[in-house]
């Protein structure tokens, strides 16, 4: 259970943090929310999709990191199985809240990565003068990238929605034991509609830097094969995957 507390340089001046290069806290994740500024780095490693949230119609940009049967397939006992790690996973156990345009750093008090003593491999969050240490500054800068990336992601999704460029993505997993499972609830770029856009709009998307992101999202679906590959040592792995977009 996570309980996020605002970080304070007096109350928490003796806390230390351990780095976990396996990011094991994310072992059960299937989807990870993504900032617009992460599309370039993540698209060559994980499929990037938009989640369809029917309850309140809010969509989020997300990276697919696993399925319920396997958990997060990039998490292994020894290492992180990809060359890129989403910022929200990297920045754990920190999180942020935005109040009056000011970023407040929060941290998970129950995280095993946080300790009160400087054990092996742990680094201080604060220097003795109360200033943030180099490692805390690294987290702070991740959080501020995360905050700006998430704002840009909302704007990006709004633009895709306005142009009706999103369509449902249905995925069929074929397991080794022969059983298939279909999963829905994700959206991707509708390629047909994209080709039909008029030159002015294409040019506009290009100058806004959105076109490259759209293309990256489409190409990133190839990374589903990587996920399939990563299940191969599990019980009843996925042996084949089918993707279908429907309007």
């Amino acid at each position: 259970m996570s309980s996020y507390t605002p970080l304070d340089n007096q109350a928490h001046r003796n806390l230390c943090i351990k780095a976990d290069k396996r990011f094991s806290h994310s072992a059960e994740f299937n989807l990870v929310s993504l900032g617009f500024n992460e599309i370039a780095s993540i698209s060559g490693c994980m499929p990037i999709v938009v989640t369809a949230n029917d309850a309140n119609h809010s969509h989020t940009l997300a990276a697919v990191v696993g399925w319920p049967e396997f958990g997060n397939v990039y998490c292994s006992d020894t290492e992180w199985m990809g060359h890129a790690v989403p910022l929200s996973i990297q920045s754990y156990p920190f999180n942020y809240a935005v109040e009056q345009d000011k970023l407040t750093v929060l941290f998970d008090e129950d995280s095993p990565l946080i300790s009160n003593n400087s054990s092996e491999g742990a680094s201080a969050l604060f220097a003795s003068d109360g200033s943030p240490s180099a490692s805390l500054k690294q987290y702070q800068s991740m959080l501020s990238n995360l905050a700006s990336g998430s704002q840009q992601a909302s704007a990006f999704i709004q633009a895709l929605t306005d142009l009706e460029l999103l369509s449902n993505l249905s995925i069929t997993l074929h397991f080794e034991n022969g059983e298939p499972r279909e999963s829905t609830g994700l959206m991707t770029i509708n390629e047909d509609k994209l080709v039909q856009l008029n030159a002015d709009i294409i040019h506009q998307l290009h100058t806004q830097g959105l076109l490259v992101a759209i293309n990256a999202m489409m190409l990133s679906l190839r990374q589903y094969n990587r996920l399939v590959q990563l299940t191969k040592n599990a019980n009843n792995p996925v042996v084949k995957i089918g993707l279908k977009t429907t309007n």
């Binding site: 230390c16 400087s118 680094s123 201080a124 604060f126 220097a127 003795s128 003068d129 109360g130 200033s131 943030p132 240490s133 180099a134 500054k137 690294q138 702070q140 800068s141």
Partner: protein, 513 residues
């Protein structure tokens, strides 16, 4: 031919041990005849070195690397901190600006273009050092010059050190004895015997006569060998630099976790200036003044007021330890078989931390050019004397620059601007610099110690007005210069987001956290 196989260093302060370390490390192998260079340091245990908080130049990093001393040892054993700049406060009285920086890092883009003239043309810019270089902003934010202790692969700004001089000597001494085979003789030199070749031997209380092929005089102000035995007089420079006294004091931080300044603070006063050097657990401070312009009592009051302002709770003595000195340098640093290094070679006020720098430069030149045979020694000595005289003279001119640009109106400061007190070369350059920027080609001598860049930081830091109406004919890189000015801003933002505080870096190096 008489081979030079033995160097005797008389005196064991910073000068003595740095010289011993550099000599022994440079000549660590044996010659073809099997002879090794013997390096002896005769150190009295009854004389205590003048140990105050001292600043070094970035050159100290390569000097220590040559000797084989690691930075971590300096931080753990000599209370060392990092120095990225000097900040001069109240050297100018008018305007909102109270201080300016002389950082160790070069301006943005200086490898390809000097952006100074473009900066001078840009009326929106006012703080030269901060506009052209990222380093003053790091100092203002109390940040370290690098990310971690071992940052060979990461970003590192140029830096030197602030040191506890007494502890620094111990680190040097231990290393020289244990690692470099320097012989340490604890004894008092009672007499010096001379002959035509110079010093024949020194007479000691407990070790009889000690002979050597070369003697290095590191006996400090007393100059036992170079002056008392060999009669080499001083070249007086007090008509250029007026200070002759220093009050020194070490003061605790008001809170032990207080941030540590990453620059030497130098605050102008009525008849001189106060240095303030942040070590790990205390600040080393001193008031350099001219006794002709302020009485000792009055100077004590000036110093007390400063110390009260930085730590009101500290109990201060009614009198401070005082050092009297004559500003100047030896007419000959190398006479016959004797070389003067350190205070025996001369003294300049520590405004730009030149004292350790001149020790390093002298010792490196001695080690590199050590004559193999006594027959060629006069040639080496001549070259050494020429080079060192130039270094001292150009240092004096650079220190004077700080004074002549001030607009303070106390008698001491007015006298400092009197034309007859300004070295001729400096006066001519200052006149030229009214109509053109400082050029790299203004300072091209092999023995130049302060680069054109240092002159720029001081001159434009003091908001010098330059009439470029003729010079603009040669200016063609406005866009490139503008890019560098923008880059500097971006770099500052990026570094502030990444670098730990100065104390934070020291903490990690002491394994405190």
């Amino acid at each position: 031919m008489t081979p030079v196989n033995s160097v005797v260093i008389v005196g064991g302060g910073t000068a003595g041990w740095l010289t011993a370390g550099l000599l022994a490390a440079t000549h660590s192998k044996q010659g073809s005849t099997g002879a090794r260079l013997s390096v002896k340091v005769i150190e009295s245990d009854s004389i205590h070195p003048i140990g105050v908080g001292e600043g070094t130049w970035p050159t100290m990093r390569s000097t220590l690397a040559k000797i084989g001393i690691e930075e971590a040892a300096l931080v753990q054993q000599a209370s060392a901190t990092f120095k990225q700049a000097s900040k001069f406060v109240h050297w100018h009285t008018e305007g909102e600006r109270t201080g300016y920086y002389h950082p160790f890092s070069a301006p943005q883009g200086s490898a390809t273009v000097d952006i100074t003239p473009y900066w001078l043309c840009n009326t929106a810019l006012h703080e030269y050092a901060s506009d052209v270089c990222f380093q003053p902003s790091l100092c203002e934010h109390g940040l370290a010059p690098k990310l971690t202790a071992h940052s060979k692969q990461n970003f590192s700004a140029n830096y030197g050190y602030h040191l506890d001089a007494g502890k620094f000597i111990s680190v040097l001494r231990e290393h020289c004895k244990k690692e470099l085979g320097v012989e340490h003789i604890i004894d008092d030199v009672t007499d010096v015997a001379t002959d035509d070749a110079g010093i024949k031997h020194v007479v000691t209380k407990n070790n009889d006569h000690i002979r050597g092929d070369i003697f290095v005089d590191c006996t400090g102000f007393s100059a036992h060998l170079i002056e008392k035995a060999l009669d080499v007089p001083m070249e007086d420079a007090s008509s250029v630099l007026f200070s002759d006294s220093a009050l020194v004091h070490q003061i605790a931080y008001s809170d032990e976790h207080q941030p540590i300044a990453c620059h030497t603070l130098s605050t102008a006063q009525k008849a001189g200036w106060i240095w303030d050097i942040g070590l790990q657990n205390r600040r080393g401070t001193g008031y350099v003044y001219s006794s002709k312009f302020q009485s000792d009592d009055e100077a004590t009051q000036t110093f007390t007021a400063y110390l009260k302002s930085i730590n009101p709770d500290e109990e201060l003595p009614s009198t401070f330890r005082k050092i009297n000195y004559k500003t100047g340098y030896r007419k000959r640093f190398w006479e016959k078989n004797c070389v003067a290094i350190g205070l025996s070679s001369g003294f300049l006020e520590p405004l730009e931390a030149s004292s350790l720098m001149l020790i390093e430069q002298s010792a490196i030149q001695l080690a590199e050019q050590l004559p193999p045979y006594t027959q060629v020694m006069p040639h080496v000595a001549n070259r050494f004397n020429e080079a060192l005289a130039y270094k001292w003279q150009s240092t004096i001119a650079f220190l004077k620059l700080h004074y002549v640009l001030s607009n303070r109106n106390e008698d001491f400061w007015l006298a400092n601007r009197a034309p007859q007190s300004i070295p001729q070369r400096l006066a001519s350059l200052l006149e030229e610099w009214q109509y053109r920027p400082i050029l790299d080609s203004d300072f091209t001598d092999r023995d130049e110690v302060f680069s054109a860049q240092s002159y720029r930081y001081i001159l434009y830091g003091m908001s010098h007005k330059t009439d470029l109406s003729q010079y603009v004919r040669s200016m063609s890189q406005y866009d490139g210069a503008d890019k560098h000015l923008q880059l500097n801003k971006a770099l500052i933002a990026q570094l502030i987001a990444r670098l730990p505080s100065h104390r934070g870096l020291i903490d990690t190096m002491l394994n405190k956290y």
